[in-house]
Structure formats: structure tokens, C-alpha cells
Symmetry: C2
Subunit: 281 residues, 2 copies
Amino acid sequence: MKTETTIQGLTASLSPARSSRKIIGFVPTMGNLHEGHLNLVREARRLCDVVVVSIFVNPIQFGPNEDFENYPRTLEHDSHLLAEVGCDIVFAPSVEQMYGHKPRLTNISVSDITNDLCGLQRPGHFDGVAVVVTKLFNMVQPNFAFFGQKDYQQLAVIRQFVRDLNIPLEVIGVPITRATDGLALSSRNGYLTEEQRKTAPIIFQSLKEAEQQLKQAVNLAEVLENIKQTLTQAGFIVDYVEARTLDLDKIEVFNQDVVLFVAAKLGTTRLIDNLQVKYTA
Amino acid sequence: MKTETTIQGLTASLSPARSSRKIIGFVPTMGNLHEGHLNLVREARRLCDVVVVSIFVNPIQFGPNEDFENYPRTLEHDSHLLAEVGCDIVFAPSVEQMYGHKPRLTNISVSDITNDLCGLQRPGHFDGVAVVVTKLFNMVQPNFAFFGQKDYQQLAVIRQFVRDLNIPLEVIGVPITRATDGLALSSRNGYLTEEQRKTAPIIFQSLKEAEQQLKQAVNLAEVLENIKQTLTQAGFIVDYVEARTLDLDKIEVFNQDVVLFVAAKLGTTRLIDNLQVKYTA
């Protein structure tokens, strides 16, 4: 496995693969890797000849009061894990390498689907994601790019700008990886105290209960209210509990496949999760 | 020479060139071609193995009161001219082919350098250019892309977002092609009456006079004022007369290379031109 820290080095490392028209798979990450990331890499390994993983904590997708400075940087440990799952090239650029010294004047924004859910609490967040992911796509020029379904809205935003801008690659969404107690794996889980960690799986439990209730024809609004109550009683500060179509359109009645979304805080740590519920007439 | 009207057809036509790693040159146009465009194609022909020219009147870069509907569409004549100068592939998609049937939610905007000159009179224009050019770049994936220096601000915007987004190609700016009387060639010259056409070269004459005045150490502000007066007296409605650095920064004193910009209307036809003036200490 090679590690590249410059765009030039990355380009050189990828040049033989490109010349021989190998299938390139790409997994963009912010590092601090867990099994969720590793499953993305395994999926890339399965489908592609060459697997590139980027590790870059992207400043422009963090708000001024968010955890950019404190976001865990664990490159050595991450590299160890990536080597084990068959990554070929780790791309770990500096902020200077990614953004250069001249000011960036270009922005990419995706409307509508970024206006609520996580977009509401994190203005500019998805613009920052769109810009960095587009830059990375242009550097790596992969055939396939892999993203987790845990960040469902982010995945939808990426699919949207890839389609709108005709970026020549296929986006693959990979199902959420969960701990045995159901908690969706996330780098931010590491911020939880031991007690909070024991409480956190209630998010997934409440989503599974909601799924049962929907299948028993409980009204959608009531189901969402039940999730909110369960979480609030368990000590969460609920940010949102929402139901959407697979395309993130609002939905009032459970008459098609639906995604249930939760964002809630335990102490200062904000957790998100989602569950797709199939509709069967 | 092949003509393709679909993205799929374009991709198929380019596939052999890509497989054999040929150098691909790309000239995006809105058609109604004149010698200025043909010089871009000749330059592409000189530097590249395969030359692609797109012809697409892009709706999203026109304002609501601009000439989108009436913009001349002359594909047959254009194709004739392109074949003569050695174009390999003409890409002439429909609006539906370019923008699809689902709504586009993604926008690309470049700040600062789009806020004045033509950006002031044409809000959203450069966003529309950035989006369509990015889409075309992703479809053609050229090594080199050619743009005229007549649309100097457009060229600067394209250079900026190519750099900011790491789009893997080189942008080549090609000098303005002029009629023998000095008028910068433009599709919109065709809108001029015979009398207006006789008046139009005064723009270039006033720029050349300005160059002389600057070399005789006339104050920059005075030089710009002289251009304005010359044009106004000749019957133009002046939109702007401005001096900028090569990077489009404002400049008050002629102490480095400068670009003089003019936008002015004759009747309802808006003409633009510019002239670079070298500074020699």
C-alpha cells in the first residue's frame, strides 16, 4: 500500500492503473476509521482493480462552532487498518495541498434537498462537502465512488451533483454498519461517555419499533412522535425526527418506501441514524 | 467528421481516442461560427490529436430579457466550416440531452471576479457558464480546452473554477480575432445594421488610442474617460469602460500590465472588447 500526500504523487501512483484502464474505486473519508469505513473499502475491493482511500478532515464542511479542530486525526492507525482490508493507495493531503494558497472563489451548492434535516442545523455544510468531493473526484478520477448510507442526505446530495454535472463515475451507497447493540458506527461515537454509549443504541431501537408500528398501520405522524418521546425520555435532545421518500421528498402517509431520519444529541455529541422501511401494499 | 447529438454517442465516438490515450482538444461554442471560433479550432488542431467542438445554445446563461430565443442556430453551415478546419467530432446536443427531465438542483458560482464588468449587467450569467462548461468538460474529458480572449472575464472565470475544483485539463486562451477594420468578431455583430457596423470599429480604435495615451503617460482615469467620450460621441450607449490587472483586480495607476475593457450598445446590440496593454517601466 502506498501513501501519497500530494496531488502530484497521487497522479503518479495512479498513472499505471489509468494507462492500463484498470477499474478505480474511491472511498473518501475524514479518517478515524471504523468498521463502517472498512466495509466501504471491502466493497470497493470487491468491485474494483485499484482501491484509493482519501483521509482528509475538510475544514470547509465544518461550521464555526463545530469540531474541526478536535476531530480525531489517527493516520497511522488508519493506515494499518486500510492495509489489512486491501487498500492500494491512501491519499492524505494537507489543507494547503487541497486548497492551495490563493483564495478559493468557486462554490458548488445543491438546493432543495440540503434545506432541511442536517442542512438546517449546518448551513454551508453540504456546499463544503460538494466542493471537496468534486475536487477529490477530479484528482482520483475513479470509476466507482463509495459512500455510507448512514449519511443518507450526504449520499443524496452527492448523487444529485454527480448527475447534474455529468461527473463520469458511479456512486455506490453502502448499508449502515452497526455495533452488535445496533448503534450506527460513527467517528463521533468516540466522544460519548461510557454511560452515553449505553444510551445511544436507543436511537436504532426506536427506529426498529417505528418500523413495526408502521407495519401495524399506525399513523406516520404518530410513529414519528413516538420516536421523539422515546428519545427525549432517554435523555436525548432531539434535533429532528423525520420521514422522507427515498429521494428525500416530504411524505405524510406511509404509502410507499420511506426513510426515517433521526438526529439527536447526547450531551454535546450529535448522533444521526436512519432506517429504510419498505412499503408492501 | 462525426456529428453526435447524444452524450452516449459522444462517449462512444471518443472511446477509441481515450483507449489509445490520444490528446483530446475541446472547443465549446454556441454555434453561429465565425473566424474567431475557427481560430480556436485551428489552435486545438495544432496541439491535439482529436478535436471536439460543441455547439449548444445554453439557456441557463441567458437572462430573461436576453436573446436566447433569437440566438442564431446555424448548425448546417457551422458543420461545413468545422469540417474544413479539421474538427473530428461535432457535439450538438438538445437542451433535453444536456439538462435531462429531472430538475437540476446543482449550481456552481464563482465569487469576486463575477461581481462586476459583464457580471453586473447579467446576474447569474457566469453561474450558467460555469455549470454548462463543467458538464461539457465531464462529457468530453479533454486534455486541453480552448476559449477566446474576447470574453476575457469568462476565460478568467473558467480558469478560476478549473483551478478551484482541480478539473484535470489545461485551459488555453486564444487572442481575439478581428475584422480588417479592427472590430472583434462576435456572433452578435450579425445583429448590427449596415450603418451600425460602420460605427462599431470605433470601439477598437478607442482602445488603441488609449494604449498610445498610456504609453505617453496620460493618467489612467483620464484615458478611460476619453474612451467613454469617444464612444458616446459616436452614438454608443456605454455600459462600462474599465481597467483591470490580468487577474481582474482593480487598478488605479498604470504601473503593471493592464487590460482595458469596453462594453457598449449600438441600438439594442451589446458589443464587448478588450485590449491588453503591456507595462514597461
